[in-house]
Symmetry: C2
Subunit: 111 residues, 2 copies
DNA sequence: ATCATTTATCGTAAATATACGATTATCTGT
DNA sequence: ACAGATAATCGTATATTTACGATAAATGAT
């Protein structure tokens, strides 16, 4: 009989996407960046480096993580890059998190 | 002048908590476990090992991560431990994620 | 052409996360 | 007291994340 390993596990697309979005949100500076972006129509990275006391390369790395998760998008406007939320994926993330937390289950809880 | 480093950054409690909750959700198997727990009043770890094809020690490790994030709680009932959602923190997480995604900002988006 | 500005990428060190098997601890039932 | 069952912990190997400084790429201004 074949041994079962973690590689055998199949997750639904929703589960995987939710985990990826959550991973993108798993560092407070990325939460902070997303809060900034959701509270104003747009944002330059340059503004971020003056707001956030981190090395420019580190901020760029965090922006890349948000980009790869699809939560933000960049518009190249050299030498600047203008970053915004990605509306479609932002909405999808909102929906996935909302669905996860939808069940309260206080009624018949056993502990 | 002092050099600014990542250690200088202060985040709000909400930002830190949101990041910690998100980190707990950043692995698909933990999402799966939480979905299971939110769809039934309770759950034994034993059931998880038969549902999830991972080593028992690995599942225990993931449960520990969820415990430490405060999203679940365990009731020792030896030799079993019964795990449930932690209602207070589950609610707090729901509120934090909802607040983050509350802003749509489609109106005056510039890109 | 050269310089200044902005952002990405590279290289790297340290910390954290993930998975496994083996072992240990704790309670039940015999 | 002993065996079985359940779950945590330990030890460990590998991969990923996080931070930094240094460098490179790309554009605009002089």
């Amino acid at each position: 009989m074949m041994k079962r390993t973690a590689a055998d596990i199949s997750y639904t697309e929703d589960e995987q996407d939710l985990a990826l979005f959550a991973k993108a949100l798993s560092h407070p500076v990325r939460v902070q960046i997303l809060k900034l972006l959701s509270n104003q129509p747009c944002c330059f990275t340059g503004e971020l480096t003056s707001i956030i006391p981190m090395a420019q390369s580190t901020i760029s790395q965090h922006l890349k993580a948000l980009l790869e998760a699809g939560l933000i998008q960049g518009e190249i406007n050299p030498p600047r890059v203008k970053y915004c939320l990605n509306p479609q994926n932002w909405q999808r993330a909102a929906t996935l998190f909302e669905a996860l937390f939808a069940h309260e289950r206080d009624e018949d809880r056993c502990c």
